[in-house]
Amino acid sequence: MNKYAKDYKINMDDDKKISVNETYLRTLEKRVDDLRTLIEVSSIISSTLDFNRLISLVMEKAKNVMNAEACSILLFNKHTNRLEFAYAISKEKSTASILKKTFSLELGQGVAGWVAQNLQTVIIEDVANDERFFKEIDRFSGFTTKSLIAVPLVGRGGLIGVAEILNPKDKPCFCHYDEELFSTLCRQITTAIENVKFYQESIEMEKVRQELEIASVLQKSFLPDSSVFKRGAIEVAAVNIPAEQVGGDIYDFLEPVEGKIGVFVGDVSGKGVSAAMYMAKIISDFRYKARLQEKPNVALGNLNDGLLKGPMGMFVTAVYIIIDVNTGVLSVSNGGHPPFLLIRDNKVEVIDIQGGPPLGIINTEYPVSSMSLNRGDRLLLITDGVFDAINRSGLRLGFDDLVDFISNLEDKNNLVDSIINYVNEYSEGTGRSDDLTLVELRYN
């Protein structure tokens, strides 16, 4: 007990009195102040979602309540596997900017690196006698570290970073009580950082969602204005259902020369914005290269040439049919696309013509095949999303089972609707993972 401490008498009730000395009273006052600070920090955490402002306010409070010369926060970068200075305050304002620009630590490097690696709080009375201390930091910042507490910030998703408090102003080193107090503050700091990160991520997700919405509208604008196309005795109808807001399936109808129509169905590898952009390039290239071209193999070959310099992992499977609107005679070329179906006299036939590889991979020529349709014949062109549907047991529908389903349909008049209903029922509760496109060509 401090020999200079005075005794104080406190009246509790009329008949009860207790005596405390001044040191005890000062300690109590300090603890009440500390509790007040913790409550203030709690209210700061719920008052702002601005990361820099939040960390600045919280660390300023921490520095004051700990009566320390400096404090810092290093955040763990999962991509680089290093700790990076996110915030530092000391009496020299330049210290923070020096640290942020110059320093990041490997796990295990320096005291902070050790704490991050071992997920343990350390209290060091004299860093000069601790070999974990990384002296370069002081040399660059101009700050002299004497004593410190370093606490790992561990959130629900694992390590977030490390907080350090440096050099107590009123004593040579930190004590156990300081460690408890700083650890409590650090738990609040961890919650604060997690809240801010969650908020930032939700904003980013919202931005992405909005961009996907715009991309989806743009993508739809690349497809034909109408999903139905009629010329002479030929009628073509298409249904395209993207798995995500933007998908990689394509279809197009055009009239390359008078009296003939071209029907193109394609499936770009991958999904999302990159697939949609690739799809946009393909459809604009196709419209240019298919114009005035009566041979589907030449059109596909020219399209392939233009795609060879595209992104390395991207390609498109495609089938292109050019049909005479009066005679029903058609020529067709296939680049790695699934076979199409001929529905004739209520029977289904799989048309697996000789084809070439998907477009955009290797320099090649595409074979061409010919066939004649009879009045009443229908062709069904699909993308693999139709038969790659998965059910709740994880089983894929498969091309053969899809063909069986179509073959067994008594009423094949509403073929496309029947198939979509079947695929939706098959994959009910699983969520569709691929785009789904069906194009039906009728020779009336």
Binding site: S269, G270, N334, P357
Partner: protein, 115 residues
Amino acid sequence: MVTCTSMKIELINRNGVVVISPSGEIDMYSSPLLRKELISFTKKKISPVIVALRDVTYIDSSGIATFVEALKRMMPYNGKLKIAEIPESIMKIFNFSKLDKVFDMYESIDDAIKG
């Protein structure tokens, strides 16, 4: 061995030749893992790169795109991407996509090494 939810990758040393052996489904979720493995080979300009698909149950266009990317990365140094032990269900997907015209395919790993 590296793993993700639907796929595992094992590297097999067959007489000094490293064979990449994925198992499970190669889809949009698992293909980045296979891509990482293949790219680590192509960066070192290794040839041939042999991939054994014996234990693969499904491959989608993202998976095929991964092989296509590796193949294109190997073209400048005349590297060979060889695919071996292809199960019937996967061969059907490759046949649909006419990928026999793109990749060198072999019945066994030994054939791929010799070929």
